[in-house]
């Protein structure tokens, strides 16, 4: 019956939420630093889906939709995600070079 119900914003939001949670859990469980970064990408992706859903004219009527704003924001998010991924990767490489390990459980020098 899912097949026959109309796709609404909520569906997209749900997908976005699931991707977000998956990303968060991925960040929380992966020991590999790059795994954590992947989780970050998932999170951002979920957020993008939300924005697109709100800005889609197919899903919402003309008056309620964000229109181009939603897409623009999603665009910015993508760009920022890329920038952030670059920096994070640089940090990860530095970390790897200094400690010869990519296990973030080893990165607890700031432990209180």
């Amino acid at each position: 019956m899912l097949l026959f119900a109309t796709v609404s914003v909520s569906w997209y939001l749900a997908v976005g939420a699931i991707l977000f949670v998956l990303g968060a859990v991925c960040m929380a469980t992966k020991r590999n630093l790059l795994g954590v970064l992947m989780g970050v990408e998932l999170v951002l992706n979920g957020a993008n889906i939300n924005f697109i859903a709100f800005g889609s004219r197919l899903l919402r009527s003309e008056g309620d939709t964000l229109g181009l704003d939603g897409q623009l924001i999603a665009l910015f998010v993508i760009v920022l995600a890329a920038a952030e991924a670059a920096v994070a990767l640089a940090i990860a490489l530095n970390f790897y070079n200094n400690h010869s390990t990519i296990d973030i459980d080893r990165a607890n020098e700031l432990k209180g």
Binding site: A24, M27, A28, T29, K30, R31, V36, G39, I104, D105, A107, N108, E109, L110, K111, G112
Partner: protein, 946 residues
């Protein structure tokens, strides 16, 4: 005149105090800078200035106005003349006309008062004038009757005689006033005041003069206390132009060469003796003190301190003489005592010296106890401490006088020449309020009448007047102080021990001044003594003079001989005063001051020359130290009362003879056969006096030297010898009548201050049959002739006996030892000073020590235990409380708080695991939380609506 004299004398008193303070503050610095002589100069300057001021005051007084209108010096001349006239009357009118003369006196009294009343142009109300005017107002009627009374005596002489012809001669009014009031407590005013009459002025002159000479003497005598570089080098006295005369006179010519050599050797020997190595230039080696390791005590010299103490003493003595009220006298009394303590204990390291100082002070205090009782009685009874009048307040003497005169005027049967001792009404009201009140309510009369009635009743019953015994006790109380201060029996034991002090101290304090203070007080306080008290005084004086004389004949220490001699002579003075010889006793005080200080200084010179006190080591010293020898000879003559009878004599001749005369007169008037006990004891002791004094002189200066080494080193110093010469002159001449200006001599000066209560009257005791005869009676030929002869004879006997025993060579020279052996028990008794010290030790000292040890035991074991227990308990409580409050509560709470915070921090720190994954989880959880919170709290519809 009064202001001038009071200020001059006040300054004279304060100058030595100033010197004391300067020496006190600067003495140490001076000593360190080797300028100790400056301290001596300061003290000497002060006392010499005081002496000058005293003489200036005397001159001012002499020029001053007398109540009779002339200057005092003229009045003195008149007094002497009138006394001579009266004596003539007495001698010619001996027997029948005696009464007539006495009646005359009575008339003269009234006239004198009249005259005195008319001339009131003085700086302040004179004592005599105010009371005179009072009396005149009250008893106008009686004055008439007093003029009537002589008429009933049926004489052909006119009764209205001018004042100048009366027996009493000019009156001399004493000046009294207040410098400063310390405080008024009810009716008691404590003041610093003065009481100046000719006695005061004479005492000032004498004390300051002798003190100046002592300072000069001590300047050289205390040289030991200086570093050896500062000591005067030994002087060859033959080169001294003044003294060389004496040496030529005294020293044998064949000794000259020897003496030169001896001087040189002595110089070196002297310095070698006193120095102890180059680095100990400052050290005083006290050979009488041995330290634990056997060597002698080495200490720094104390030259300035001596003069400091001496200055303080001079201040105290002068203050005592000047004092205008009994309280001030008492304060200075104590001050003199403490100065004596300091001076006797000058050689502090010697146990004997410090013990002697303690003994002196404690024995003095025993006497002062009685003095305080006397003070209290007199203050309660008379309401004032002042001797003289001060404005409205009537002083002690005026009250006594007033009572006597009142009594005489009120009772016709009483003869003014022979009055009974009376009790002033104020004393009766003070002590016997209850009886008076009862009488008043019973009979309804006024207070005065009630008192008069009561006294009348008692007189009829043959009892003494109400309050009379209080006067006796009061007088004896004051006299107790004198017993202590003037070394009378039984408190004489301190004076011989006081010889532990340096010789200048003995010369000044214990011969001329401090011990004389007691005699001076008796003289000053005389009007307050009733005849019974005076009897006790005379008895004690007699006992004392006998004890002193007898012990002196066995003493071997030259200073001890002089000490006992002092005791004996003080006994003479006290006895004279007790027998009524006011002028006699005080005259002896003055002459004794001169020749006794001369004797002491001479003995000091001897001791300085031979370095020993023991007379058995001396002998033949007159060849080596002739000035000392011959001045001391003069003094021995004076103390023995030598003189050519009825012509001229040394000062001691006059004073001792007048004492013996008064004693004889007393015996006569009181019914004893030919003299009475006082006279015979005194005369016998005069013989003993002459004996022991010349024994001393012969042992020291005559015969062969007993110790060749000491003899060879003996010599004297000019500084120590000049005072001796000056004093010798005084010792001879101080009691001579003045050829230049008639009347200006010592005895007349004293006569001018005679208290009015015994001025020409014989006092009858009211509780007994004792009569204190008028002193003028003692000068009558009937008394004078036998007494003078007897006295001279005893003197000669004494001198001859001494010469036999101590001068004649050969077998006679050993007579002393033989005599001692023959009279062994007596000799032993005398040698041990009548066992007084041992007696006191057993009666007073040992029980006190035992009591002290008991109390000390209580203190140490019981009281200390209590206190230690308290201390321990407090400590334990403190420790417990500290632990509880401080450690457990305060520290605990603070620590607990800190621990909590720390643990909170630690636990919170665990949040920072450093693990990225957990941070992520936290972010997620936070997001959830915020989301939920916001969804419940934030209402988007309402916000979107704005």
């Amino acid at each position: 005149m009064e202001n001038t004299i009071s200020i001059l004398l006040g300054v004279a008193v304060l100058l030595p105090l100033g010197a004391f303070f300067v020496n006190l503050l600067a003495g140490h610095a001076l000593r360190k800078k080797n300028l100790s002589r400056v301290a001596a100069c300061i003290s000497m300057g002060a006392i010499v200035t005081s002496a000058v001021l005293s003489f200036i005051s005397l001159a001012v007084w002499l020029q001053g106005e007398n109540p009779s209108g002339k200057s005092n010096i003229q009045a003195l001349a008149e007094l002497k003349e009138s006394n001579a006239e009266h004596l003539k009357h007495l001698n010619t009118g001996f027997g029948g006309h005696a009464e007539h003369a006495e009646h005359e006196e009575h008339g003269a009294v009234g006239h004198d008062e009249h005259q005195g009343h008319d001339e009131t142009d003085h700086d302040h109300d004179s004592t005599l004038n105010s009371t005179t005017s009072n009396r005149n107002e009250q008893f106008v009627a009686h004055e008439d009757s007093s003029e009537v009374a002589p008429e009933t005596g049926a004489t052909e002489e006119s009764h209205t005689q001018p004042a100048s012809d009366s027996h009493h001669g000019p009156q001399f009014e004493p000046m009294s006033g207040v410098y400063y009031t310390l405080g008024k407590f009810g009716s008691l005013a404590l003041t610093i005041g003065y009481y100046i009459d000719s006695l005061t002025l004479a005492m000032f002159c004498m004390v300051t003069l002798i003190a100046s000479l002592i300072h000069l003497y001590a300047y050289k005598y205390m040289d030991d206390e200086l570093p050896s570089s500062k000591r005067g080098a030994a002087v060859d006295c033959t080169k001294n132009r003044f003294l060389a005369f004496f040496y030529r006179f005294g020293a044998g010519s064949h000794d000259d060469q020897d003496s030169h050599d001896d001087h040189d050797e002595h110089d070196e020997h002297d310095e070698h003796d006193d120095t102890d190595g180059p680095e100990d230039d400052f050290m005083f080696v006290d050979h009488e003190v041995s330290m634990e390791d056997g060597s002698h005590c080495h200490r720094t010299g104390r030259y300035p301190r001596f003069f400091q103490a001496l200055s303080l003493f001079c201040f105290s003595m002068l203050g005592l003489v000047l004092a205008g009220n009994v309280a001030m006298t008492f304060v200075f009394w104590e001050l003199v005592g403490i100065c004596s303590y300091f001076l006797i204990g000058f050689y502090v390291e010697r146990k004997s010296a410090s013990t002697a100082a303690n003994k002196a002070f404690i024995v003095n205090r025993v006497g002062d106890f009685g003095m305080i009782i006397g003070l209290m009685i007199f203050w309660t009874g008379f309401g004032t401490f002042n001797y003289g009048d001060d404005g409205d307040e009537i002083g002690l003497f005026s009250q006594m006088e007033g009572a006597t005169v009142h009594h005489v005027a009120a009772h016709e049967s009483v003869d003014s020449a022979s009055v009974p001792a009376v009790v002033p009404a104020k004393l009766v009201t003070a002590f016997y309020e209850q009886e008076i009140k009862d009488h008043k309510t019973e009979h309804g009369v006024s207070t005065e009448q009630a008192i008069a009635d009561l006294q009348h009743e008692r007189a009829e019953n043959g009892e003494s007047p109400l309050g009379y015994w209080l006067m006796i006790i009061g007088g004896l109380g004051i006299f107790c102080g004198c017993i202590g201060k003037s070394a009378q029996f039984p408190l004489h034991v301190w004076l011989p021990d006081a010889m532990e002090g340096p010789t200048p101290v003995s010369a000044l304090v214990h011969s001329a001044t401090m011990v004389a203070a007691g005699v001076f007080l008796v003289g000053r306080f005389y009007p307050m003594f009733v005849p019974e008290a005076l009897l006790v005084i005379a008895i004690i004086g007699t006992i004392t003079l006998f004890i002193g004389a007898t012990i002196a004949i066995t003493a071997n220490d030259i200073k001890k001989v002089l000490a006992y001699s002092t005791i004996s002579q003080l006994g003479y003075m006290i006895m004279a005063l007790g027998a009524g010889g006011w002028v006699a006793g005080l005259l002896h005080l003055f002459t004794h001051a001169f020749f006794k200080s001369l004797l002491f200084m001479g003995s000091g010179s001897v001791i300085h020359a031979v370095h020993t006190n023991d007379m058995r080591e001396m002998g033949g010293l007159r060849k080596k130290i002739p000035v000392t020898a011959y001045t001391m000879f003069v003094a021995c003559l004076a103390i023995a009362g030598a003189g050519i009878p009825f012509v001229i004599g040394t000062s001691g001749y006059y004073s001792k003879d007048s004492i013996l005369e008064q004693a004889f007169s007393w015996g006569q008037q009181n019914g004893f056969a030919f003299g009475g006990i006082f006279f015979w004891v005194a005369t016998a002791s005069a013989a003993i006096t002459a004996f022991y004094m010349f024994r001393m002189w012969f042992m020291t200066f005559a015969g062969k030297p007993r110790n060749e080494e000491r003899y060879s080193h003996a010599h004297e110093y000019p500084n120590m010898v000049y005072p001796l010469v000056i004093l010798a002159v005084f010792a001879i001449a101080v009691a001579w009548p003045n050829p230049l200006h008639k009347g200006f001599d010592l005895s007349t000066l004293l006569e001018a201050s005679r208290p009015a209560t015994i001025s020409g009257t014989t006092l009858n005791g009211s509780a007994s049959a004792i009569v204190i005869p008028d002193e003028h009676l003692s000068h009558m030929n009937s008394i004078k002739t036998p007494v003078t002869l007897l006295a001279t004879m005893t003197g000669i006997i004494g001198i001859l006996l001494a010469a036999f025993m101590y001068v004649l060579p050969g077998s006679r020279g050993l007579a002393a030892a033989e005599m001692a052996a023959k009279f062994k028990p007596i000799h032993n008794f005398l040698l041990n000073k009548w066992w007084f010290d041992e007696l006191y030790e057993v009666i007073f000292v040992k029980p006190s020590q035992v009591l002290g040890s008991w109390i000390s035991w209580i203190d140490q074991n019981i009281l200390d235990s209590i206190i230690h227990f308290c201390a321990r308990a407090t400590k334990a409580a403190a420790r417990f409380w500290e632990r509880l409050a401080d450690q457990i509560i305060v520290d605990g709470s603070v620590n607990l708080m800190a621990r909590w915070i720390y643990q909170t921090g630690v636990s919170l720190r665990r949040v920072q695991t450093g693990s990225l994954r957990q941070y992520v989880l936290f972010i997620v959880i936070a997001a959830i939380t915020v989301f939920i919170l916001v969804s419940f709290m934030w209402d988007p519809v309402s916000i979107a609506g704005h």
